[in-house]
Amino acid sequence: METIKNALDFSDFPRLDLTVAGAVALCLIIFPLFPLSSFAMSTMIQFLMFALYGMGWNTIGGYGGQVDLGKAQYVGIGAYTTAVMLIRWDIPFWVSMPIGVCFAVTWSFIIGYPLFRLKGHYFAIATIATSLVLKDIFEVWEFVGAARGLEISPIKYHPPDFLRLIFREDIYYFYFILGFFFLGILYINWFRKSRLGYQLRSIKDNEDMARSLGINVHWAKIKTYAIATGFVSVVGSFHACYIKNIEPEDTMSLDISILIALMAMLGGAGSLWGPIIGAGILIPLKSYLKEWLGAQAGLVGIDLILYALIIMLISAYEPRGVWGIIEKIRRRKRA
């Protein structure tokens, strides 16, 4: 009960934030009522997915300050668990998703234990390494379709199938992921005020100090890493049902890891709204730039160039991202 109350308690935010957040939430809810193209719809679903990935990343990367560039491996674990279970044994999404989370969390413990002996850059690169290793293994593993990947057949199931999360129209997926999105916000809201949340922030500020206060630094990091993993894995399972075709090259590619991390950092790591802002800026930017410039003028890669420039600017002038800029402006106004 206390937990739910805590999760629903946003009172430490200024009223302006809450008004804006409420307005955005309302817009999201009524979004499908606008007669927009399917392209806008799929962009929106992607935005919500990446916002969720970003929120997961934000627990360990933002509040904990451990830059993780290997989140794609957990997207893969979640997506593969759901797809394999559905295709081989017809196990519905709502069962396979928690199982996927269990697998992902177990794997995160296995590699997290040695991984968190590393810090900073070394940690970041090691997460890339583990992600690439897992991808290489999935690419030759016949049971999960090797490099061919897996396909959830469109004719075997009859949409709309709420158990297996197989739909034809994107609108169903939109509302499902929107539901996850709101739950995710509530969870993170609870998390940041939890004991672990405070421990993490003190670790981020000064690890030695945190240790001297009696915090088990290593264990706290591993636990948070597992939470982040769970988040990503849930969305990974959703990804499998939404895309209906998963393969290592795509689902577990480094690009996804990079996108997740950079999106959260762009928006502002270590704040509740950061990853949402980051995803809100980058996903539409990416999709529409690709559509307008990439497809029409043949300018492949222009979206990511702009993206990279934004990241470079942010890192040089305000490493705390867009949220950092907003806070700075606010502080100046108050002063």
Partner: protein, 437 residues
């Protein structure tokens, strides 16, 4: 409470306006939109350009009257049964990425409202795109993806004109057996033990991994010894350890399934490593691209490739010669396996639409399932086009056939593909064994 009501009212109003704005169907159909999805950028960009040119040429012929071409679609402007409606191609680039392909298909179907889809060359992309088409019940004709699995999924909105790899791989083994029996033109019967050990290297996605499996299956059936079969990433920038591994197996016959840039890299590395198998065979794709010939020059003399179309076909088929001239005028290259099949793919689309006399998906489906295009109307040397409608395979053209060609240096110093299989249409003596690089 009141504010919620307001929101609800607002939403309803928006919905009503939205419904008004939706265009209410197209009655006077002037053009038929076909979505075409090919790899126009990325590792297979060169193939994409060929495919695109092939499809565009077919559309041009269909939209204008060219009475001297002996094919039905050249006789009148547009689709006659649809009041002369013109074919309009909406071409998109999938970059070799299956997810992007599915995304594009969705966009074509929902936003551009295409009447049908043609594509996608890469079997992996065809797989996802056909799944989207199946979901939305939009017909899709595939001209050049050869993974056997594609037509074994029971899809009702997917038709494939090209023969698939099971036939091609069987052709290969028939050819090898023919070699031991002295059936090949210009080669005395080769003792079995001289070509008994095989090794294969295939790219590792949908297409290559299936080919690899088929080679394994047929090697067992025909009693050849497959010493090594490896899969590699087509995007590799270095294949030297793969090539050394192949060489270490000491095969007599090396078999490949490669896209363009990796095929070039493979042959280059084999040359640098001084590999000398007796036979080198490529499963089409990269091995028959103009780039392959241009970059590797003389070193490909003696390499075999399966294909469905060689410039030599022109000698036995007048229509192929005429279309080839038009294609050459447009691009400067001869028709190849990719462009000829893209051409045939769109030609099939035109024939199906002509027969359907409507753009209703149901009508198109019925027309496609009962279509019969005779071989004389086609550019490719097939018996014709007729899709299977029952059994394990659905929507597969059952009248197709393949060829095996060999690169041979002509008198003018240019590399030509000569037909060596089927034996009764061979156009030259085969070079055997494969000369050292």
């Amino acid at each position: 409470m009141k504010s919620w009501m307001k929101v609800g009212m607002f939403a309803l109003a928006v919905l009503a306006v939205g419904l008004w704005m939706v265009p209410s169907g197209a009655w006077a159909q002037k053009e038929i939109k076909i979505g075409v999805i090919y790899p126009l950028t990325g590792g297979a960009a060169a193939a994409g350009r060929e495919l695109r040119a092939g499809a565009e040429l077919a559309a041009k012929i269909a939209n204008s009257a060219m009475p001297d071409l002996a094919m039905p679609m050249a006789q009148n402007q547009g689709i006659k049964s649809l009041g002369g409606a013109k074919i309009k191609l909406i071409i998109k680039d999938h970059q070799g990425n299956p997810t992007l392909g599915a995304d594009l298909a969705k966009k074509l179907i929902l936003d551009d409202k295409v009447d049908g889809i043609l594509g996608c060359y890469f079997s992996s992309v065809t797989k996802t795109v056909s799944a989207v088409c199946e979901q939305y019940k939009v017909p899709m004709i595939n001209g050049s993806s050869t993974s056997p699995g594609l037509t074994e999924r029971g899809f009702k909105w997917f038709w494939r004109t090209t023969p698939h790899d099971r036939w091609f791989t069987k052709d290969l083994f028939e050819f090898l057996v023919g070699l031991t029996e002295g059936k090949v033109q210009g080669v005395k019967a080769v003792p079995r033990e001289e070509i008994n050990t095989l090794a294969s290297a295939c790219e590792k996605t949908e297409w290559g991994s299936h080919v690899s499996g088929l080679i394994e299956e047929f090697a067992k059936e025909y009693g050849f010894k497959l010493r090594k079969s490896l899969l590699y990433a087509a995007k590799s920038v270095d294949l030297s350890s793969e090539v050394r591994s192949l060489k270490a197996a000491r095969p007599d016959v090396m078999l490949f399934a490669s896209y363009t840039s990796d095929a070039i890299l493979l042959v280059k590395t084999l040359k640098a490593q001084k590999a000398h198998p007796k036979i080198m065979w490529g499963q089409d794709a990269g091995f028959e691209k103009p780039e392959f010939r241009e970059t590797l020059g003389d070193s490909i003399n003696g390499i075999l490739t399966r294909t469905v179309f060689l410039p030599k076909v022109v000698d036995i088929k007048k229509l192929a010669g005429q279309v080839n001239d038009l294609y050459k005028e447009k691009t400067g290259n001869d028709l190849g396996g990719a462009s000829a099949r893209a051409f045939t793919g769109l030609q099939t689309w035109v024939a199906v639409l002509e027969k359907a006399g409507s753009t209703e998906p149901q009508a198109i489906q019925a027309a496609a399932n009962s279509i019969e295009i005779p071989g004389k109307d086609l550019v490719v040397p097939w018996k014709g086009i007729r899709f299977s409608t029952k059994g394990k395979e659905l929507g597969q053209n059952v009248l197709g056939s393949g060829l095996i060609g060999q690169y041979q240096k002509g008198k003018d110093g240019k590399m030509e593909l000569e037909i060596v299989y089927p034996f009764d249409v061979s156009s030259a003596d085969m070079i055997f064994p494969f000369p050292e690089f």
